[in-house]
Amino acid sequence: MTTATTAGTATAEVLREHAEDAFAAELAALAAQDDRPRPERWRLSPWAVATYLLGGALPDGTVITPKYIGPRRIVEVAVTTLATDRALLLLGVPGTAKTWVSEHLAAAISGDSTLLVQGTAGTPEEAVRYGWNYAQLLAHGPSRDALVPSPVMRAMADGKIARVEELTRIPADVQDSLITILSEKTLPVPELGGETQAVRGFNLIATANDRDRGVNELSSALRRRFNTVVLPLPATLDEEVDIVTRRVGQLGRSLDLPELPGGAEEIRRVVTVFRELRDGVTADGRTKVKTPSSTLSTAEAISVVTNGLALAAHFGDGVLRAGDVTTGILGAVLRDPVADQVVWREYLEGVVREREGWKDFYRAARENVR
C-alpha cells in the first residue's frame, strides 16, 4: 500500500522528498567511488556514510553537501555503532537534528529511510511487531498472508535500518517488545508457530528527548542494547543566533508577520539568556548561575522570539522591545514555580542587573516577576 502510493506520486509533487530521493545523486556518486569494505547489505562503507553526513569532496570532484553540522566524533560513533550491530540511540533536546540524522543514516546505509515507527503515548505493540489483516484472518485463518508486518519486521526481513522516533514516548510495555528483537535478532510469531529472523544489515536507530524526563524512561534491559550518542546544542552563541534568526524569519513569513526593527538585538539577548541559563555559566565564563529545570532549547528560543514579534506587531509600537520577549522567557524558564523562580531572580539580580546596556531588559523582566 505504501509502496503503491509512493510509486504513484510524481516526486516533484510531494511536499518533502525522502532523504534517499533528495540526495540520490550524492549517494550514487559515493557508492560509485567507495572502494572500502562494506558490511553486508550496506549500500556504502561506514567511511562513506560518515562522509555523506559530514560532507566533503570526492576524488572525481563531486561535492557532498554536509547534512549534519557538528562534531565529527558524533557521526563516527553513530555509524560505527550501526556497523557493530548494536542499536543506536540518539539523545538530545528538541531541535538538535536527531530525526534528521537518523533519516540520513538510514538513507545512506539502506537506501531506505521509510521504515519508521513514530513513537507516541498511543503507539501499540502492532506498530513494533506485527498486526493482522482481519478480513484475511477471518476468511482463511492465521497465515503469513494475513500478517501485517511492522516497519521493524520488514527491516529485519530485508536487512535494513529501522527507525523509531521518540522512543521514550512509547509505553514501557511496548518499548520492551524491542528487547527480543535487539538481543535475539528475531521476532517470534507464536500464532503461526514461527518467527522472523533478522538478516545481516538489520539495525535500529531510535531517537529520544533527554531533557523531557518522566515520559517513559527506558528499562535498563532495553537501554543496554543501545549505544547512546548525545547530539549537542549549537556550540557557539553566533551559531545559535543564526539558527534562531533564520527559523524566526521563516516562521514570521508563514504567519504573515511584518518585519520589525529591533529584532536582531532582542534575538541575541534571548539566545544569550537561554544559553547562560542552560550552560549554568555567563557568556564571559566568569560567573556561574543556577540552571532551571526547564529545557530551554533552541526551539523554545525560537517560539519566544516569534511570540514577541507577534506581540510587538499587533499590540506594541511596531518595534520588538525587551518587554515583548521577557514574558515569553519567563514562561520558558519557570517550569517549577518555586525553584525556578529563585533561579530566575538570582539570574536577574546577579547577572542582568549589572550588564551594560541591558537596563531596559532588566526593568521589563522585573515587572514580570512577583
Binding site: P46, V77, T80, T84, R86, N227, T228, K290, R353, E354
Partner: protein, 863 residues
C-alpha cells in the same frame, strides 16, 4: 674513536618510546648510558634504583640563594629516560645526565614571557611545566630541559625550534594527519617493538634529520647539543665502547654529526656564569604531570600512558574493565556486557578512523556511548580518575633536603622560631611586624599539613583581634610532610599557595571553602585568594541551601574583619560576600516556607547570623555621614526613574533603587541593607493562610519583625499592630507562641532597656479580653519562662511600678537627680574608650559620631 654511539631519539613521557628504549637497550647491552637531563643530578642518580623510589618523581634543581628559582624534571614509570636510568642501574653500567647543567638555566632571571610555540625538545609531551601560580616561579621542564624561552641560558637569544614550532606537527602534516599527537601515537607509541629493536629509532632519526634540514634549531638548542656532544666525547675518552644516548628525538641529528671540538668549545664559551645550585628528588603526582601552563605540553593522559606501559596483553579490555569498575563504585549500572560492547565499539571506531589500535579518543568515545549513556558527566569521572589518575610518587629518605626545607630553615632563623620537640606557648602581637611574619609562617605550615603550631586560647587575652596564641611543638614526621609538600613549591609561601589553590578546586562544601579563605587570609596568601574566591563564587552560585549560604556569609564577613586587622586586600572577598548576601535575599523567603518547629529554629539562627553579617558588611564598607540606621535610606536613589522615596520596606522599591544609575558604579552598602530589610519584610508578611505548610512559621516572622524594629525600619506602632494581629484568637496558638518567641528571643533584657517594647506587650496584654486571656496565658508563660530569671523579676517589678505605654514613661528614678558635674567627669574616659579624638564637648553631633561606631547590642544574649 672506535666507540659505537647509538642515539635513541624518544618522545619524552611516551610509553611506546619507553618500551622501545627498553627493548633497544636489551639488544645493545651498552657499557654506558647517557640520558638527557641535568648533570648536577649524577651524584643522586643511584637513588633512582632505590626500593623506596616510586615514580612519578621529579628532579628538582634550585638556586642555593633563591629557592624560588627552580626547575623540575619529572619522571614517570613510562618515561623513556626513567626506563634507561633503571636499566643502567640494574645492569650495573654507568649512567649519566648529559644536558646543559641547570646552573646555567637558573643563572638568568626568569623572564615573564614564555613562548608557547617553542617545544625545542621537538616532541609533543616533551615539556611538563608545573602549574603553580605566581610569576616568581620559573616554569618547570621536561627531562630534556625543554625550557620556555624565558628560561634560556641567554634570554636575548631568539627562541629555537623549527618553522611552525612543532616538528611532529610538520611530520604529521606531511603524512596527511591533522592531529600530530594522534599521528605520533599511531606510528610510534602504539607500535609493538619488532624484531629489530633499533629500527624505530632509525626511522625517527631520519624523519628528524629531514625536518632539521631547513635549519630551525635555535641558539639555545645549539648550546645544549654542543654540551651533549662534549659529554659523548668525554664518554668515549673514558674508554667506553658501546654508548647509548637517550635524548629527545629532535636532538638526534645534531648528535649524529659531530663538528669539531673547537666549534663546540667556542659555543659553550658564550654561556653565562653558573649559579650555585642544589638538586634533589621530590615526589610528583600524575595530576601535576598533566598540567598545562600556557603552552600545551603537559602530558594529557598520564594515567592512560601508565596503563599502556605497565599492562601486558590486551590493554583495551583491561582498561574498559577498570572504567566499568570505577563507574560501578559510583552507582552507574555497568555490566560485563557493557565492557564487551565498549571494547568492540572502540576497536571498530579505530578501524573506521584508520588507526592501528584504539587510542584514548576511541576508548573514551566508546565508554561515553556504551557505559555512560552518552553523558559527559560520568565520563568526566573516568577522565579524572583513570586518564589522569591519582598516582603519588615516593622518594627514599636518603634524598637530599628539598628547597622547601631550606626555605623553612631560613625563615625559622630570621624569625627566631626554633623547632623544639617539647611543647611551648607563644603569644603573638599582630601589631608587630615580626610577629605577623611568624603568624603567617605558622598558618602557612598548617595549610601544608605541618601542624607545628596549633592555635590555643591565650592566657592573657582571648578576645583581641591583634593577639594570637599558639602552642608550638615540632614532631619528627614534619620533615616527611615537608618533602611531600615540596611538590607544591620551593618556598613556604609558594607551596602553601599551590596547596590552597588545589584544595579549593577539590573542596566539596561551601563551608570548607570559606574556611580555606579564612586560612588564606590568616596565612597572607594573597596570590591564592583570587583562585579560591573564584571557586567559592562558583560553588555559591550553585548552592541552593540557604543555611549553608548563611554559614558561608558569616565566615566570609569574619574573614573580612581579619583582613582589616592584617592589612590584606579584601576587595574580592567583599564582592563575593555581597554576592552571597544577594543570593540569600533571593532564596530566603521560599526556603522559610513550610518549615517545622525544628527547621524554623535552625533557620532562625541562620537569619540572625545573616543579619549580623550584613550589618557588619555595611560597617566594613566605611561609615558615611548619613548612615544612621534611623534615616530612610533613599539617598542612593539618585535620579533614577524609580527613585521616589519609599519609606516602606517594599521589595520592589528597594531593588529598583539599587538598579538606579548610580547604583551601578558601586553597589552602595545601603542597597544591600535595603534588600535584606525587604527580604525580612516579605518574610514577616508571609503568614500561613491555609495550614502551616503555606507560610513562614511564626518564629521566623516574629524574628523578622524584631530585627526590622531593632533597625528602626518599623516603628513601634506598626510592630505593635503586627503583634496584636498575630496574638489574636484567629491565629493558631502554636504559631502565635512562636511569633512572640521569635520576637523576644535572645533579647529578654531588651524589654528592660527598651521600655517601648515592654509597653507594647503590656498594652496588648491589658487589652486582651478576659476569656481570650486564659487561652493566651500558656503561650506567654512559655516564652517568659525561657527568659532569664533576673529579667523576669525586673520586668515584673517595672510592670508593677505603673503604666509604661510610651518610651518616655521609662522608669526614671536615677535620672531625677542627676549630678551633672560627676557625669561630666566621666566623659573623657568614655570618649577615650570609644576611641574619639580627645575629650569631645557634648556638642551636637560629637557623641553621635562616636556612638555610631558602637556595635549594636540588640542581639547579644544577656545570659
Amino acid at each position: 674513536m672506535s666507540a659505537e654511539v647509538t642515539l635513541l631519539g624518544v618522545r619524552h613521557h611516551g610509553p611506546g618510546s619507553a618500551r622501545a628504549v627498553a627493548a633497544a637497550l636489551e639488544q645493545l647491552r651498552p657499557d654506558v648510558v647517557l640520558v638527557e637531563g641535568p648533570p648536577e643530578a649524577d651524584p643522586i642518580i643511584g637513588l633512582a634504583g632505590d626500593k623506596e623510589m616510586v615514580p612519578p618523581v621529579a628532579l628538582l634543581a634550585h638556586a642555593v640563594d633563591d629557592p624560588a628559582r627552580a626547575a623540575f624534571w619529572p619522571f614517570a614509570v613510562f618515561s623513556p629516560e626513567w626506563v634507561a636510568v633503571r636499566y643502567a642501574l640494574e645492569a650495573e653500567v654507568p649512567v649519566r645526565f648529559i644536558d646543559l647543567p641547570a646552573a646555567y638555566g637558573l643563572a638568568t632571571e626568569p623572564a615573564g614571557g614564555q613562548d608557547p610555540s617553542e617545544p625545542s625538545g621537538g616532541v609533543p609531551g616533551g615539556t611538563s611545566p608545573d602549574g603553580r601560580p605566581g610569576p616568581a616561579l620559573p616554569a618547570g621542564e621536561g627531562p630534556a630541559g625543554d625550557r620556555p624561552a624565558g628560561d634560556a641560558p641567554d634570554g636575548v637569544l631568539p627562541a629555537g625550534g623549527p618553522a611552525g614550532g612543532d616538528p611532529i606537527g610538520a611530520l604529521a602534516a606531511a603524512a596527511g594527519h591533522d592531529d600530530a599527537e594522534r599521528w605520533w601515537e599511531d606510528v610510534v607509541e602504539h607500535r609493538a617493538p619488532g624484531a629489530d629493536a633499533l629500527a624505530p629509532f632509525t626511522a625517527v632519526a631520519e624523519a628528524m634529520t629531514a625536518l632539521r634540514e631547513d635549519g630551525g634549531a635555535g641558539r639555545r638548542d645549539e648550546l645544549r647539543e654542543a654540551y651533549m656532544r662534549q659529554q659523548v666525547r668525554a664518554a668515549r675518552r673514558a674508554g667506553h665502547r658501546r654508548i647509548a644516548v637517550v635524548c629527545g628525538a629532535w636532538h638526534v641529528p645534531a648528535l649524529a654529526t659531530m663538528p669539531t671540538v673547537a666549534h663546540d668549545r667556542a659555543l659553550l664559551a658564550t654561556l653565562p656564569k653558573k649559579v650555585r645550585t642544589e638538586i634533589t628528588w621530590v615526589p610528583w603526582t600524575h595530576r601535576r604531570l598533566s598540567q598545562h601552563t600556557g603552552y600545551g605540553a603537559g602530558i594529557a593522559s598520564p594515567g592512560w600512558y601508565h596503563h599502556l606501559f605497565s599492562t601486558d596483553g590486551d590493554p583495551l579490555a583491561r582498561w574498559m574493565t577498570m572504567a566499568a569498575d570505577l563507574l560501578r563504585q559510583e552507582d552507574h549500572p555497568v555490566s560485563s556486557a557493557h565492557v564487551i560492547e565498549a571494547v568492540r565499539l572502540a576497536g571498530t571506531l579505530a578501524v573506521m578512523r584508520g588507526r592501528p589500535l584504539a587510542g584514548l579518543t576511541e576508548t573514551l568515545d566508546a565508554v561515553r556511548s556504551v557505559m555512560c549513556d552518552g553523558s559527559d558527566v560520568a565520563l568526566a569521572l573516568v577522565h579524572d580518575r583513570l586518564v589522569i589518575g591519582d598516582a603519588l610518587g615516593e622518594v627514599p629518605d636518603a634524598a637530599p633536603a628539598v628547597p622547601l626545607q631550606r626555605d623553612l630553615t631560613r625563615l625559622q632563623r630570621t624569625l627566631r622560631l626554633k623547632p623544639e620537640p617539647e611543647a611551648r606557648e607563644l603569644d603573638l602581637d599582630l601589631r608587630k611586624e615580626n610577629d605577623v611574619a611568624r603568624s603567617r609562617l605558622l598558618h602557612r605550615l598548617r595549610l601544608l599539613g605541618v601542624d607545628w603550631g596549633t592555635p590555643s586560647r591565650s592566657a592573657v587575652n582571648s578576645t583581641g583581634t591583634f593577639r594570637e596564641s599558639w602552642r608550638l611543638r615540632w614532631e619528627p614526621e614534619f620533615a616527611v610532610r615537608i618533602v611531600e609538600a615540596a611538590q607544591w613549591g620551593t618556598t613556604v609561601e609558594d607551596a602553601a599557595t599551590g596547596k590552597a589553590v588545589e584544595t579549593a578546586a577539590r573542596a566539596g562544601e561551601l563551608g570548607a571553602l570559606t574556611g580555606l579563605v579564612e586560612r588564606c587570609l590568616l596565612a597572607g596568601l594573597s596570590r591564592a585568594l583570587p583562585a579560591v574566591m573564584q571557586v567559592l563564587a562558583d560553588r555559591a552560585a550553585l548552592d541552593t541551601d540557604v543555611a549553608q549560604l548563611a554559614g558561608a556569609l558569616t565566615a566570609l564577613v569574619r574573614a573580612l574583619r581579619y583582613g582589616d586587622v592584617r592589612g590584606t586586600d579584601s576587595g574580592a572577598l567583599d564582592a563575593v560576600a555581597r554576592g552571597l548576601a544577594e543570593r540569600i535575599c533571593v532564596g530566603l523567603p521560599p526556603a522559610c516556607t513550610g518549615l517545622d518547629a525544628e527547621g524554623a529554629a535552625a533557620m532562625r539562627r541562620s537569619v540572625d547570623e545573616v543579619h549580623t553579617a550584613i550589618s557588619l558588611l555595611e560597617n566594613a564598607a566605611g561609615p558615611g555621614p548619613d548612615r544612621t540606621p534611623d534615616t530612610a535610606p533613599d539617598h542612593t536613589s539618585g535620579t533614577g526613574p524609580d527613585a521616589a522615596p519609599d519609606p516602606a520596606p517594599d521589595n520592589d522599591a528597594a531593588i529598583s533603587r539599587a538598579g538606579g544609575p548610580d547604583g551601578a558604579a558601586r553597589p552602595a552598602a545601603d542597597a544591600l541593607a535595603d534588600r535584606w530589610a525587604a527580604t525580612l519584610g516579605s518574610l514577616a508578611r508571609r503568614e500561613p493562610a491555609g495550614g502551616a505548610a503555606t507560610g513562614v512559621p511564626g518564629l521566623l516572622r516574629g524574628r523578622a519583625v524584631r530585627l526590622l524594629l531593632d533597625d528602626g525600619r518599623l516603628d513601634s506602632a506598626e510592630a505593635g499592630r503586627r503583634m496584636g494581629l498575630v496574638l489574636s484568637t484567629a491565629s493558631a496558638p502554636a504559631d502565635a507562641a512562636g511569633w512572640v518567641e521569635g520576637f523576644l528571643s535572645g533579647g529578654g533584657a531588651l524589654l528592660l532597656h527598651d521600655a517601648r517594647l515592654l509597653g507594647l506587650l503590656d498594652a496588648w496584654l491589658a487589652g486582651v479580653p478576659g476569656e481570650v486571656f486564659t487561652d493566651v496565658l500558656p503561650l506567654l508563660r512559655r516564652t517568659f519562662s525561657a527568659l532569664e530569671a533576673g529579667v523576669r523579676r525586673t520586668v515584673g517589678a517595672q510592670v508593677a511600678a505603673g503604666p509604661l505605654g510610651a518610651p518616655s514613661a521609662r522608669p526614671a528614678g536615677p535620672a531625677a537627680d542627676l549630678d551633672e558635674e560627676r557625669a561630666d567627669a566621666a566623659l573623657p574616659t568614655v570618649a577615650l574608650l570609644l576611641g574619639l579624638a580627645g575629650p569631645s564637648p557634648a556638642g551636637p553631633g560629637g557623641p553621635g559620631d562616636g556612638l555610631r561606631l558602637i556595635p549594636r547590642q540588640a542581639d547579644r544574649r544577656s545570659a
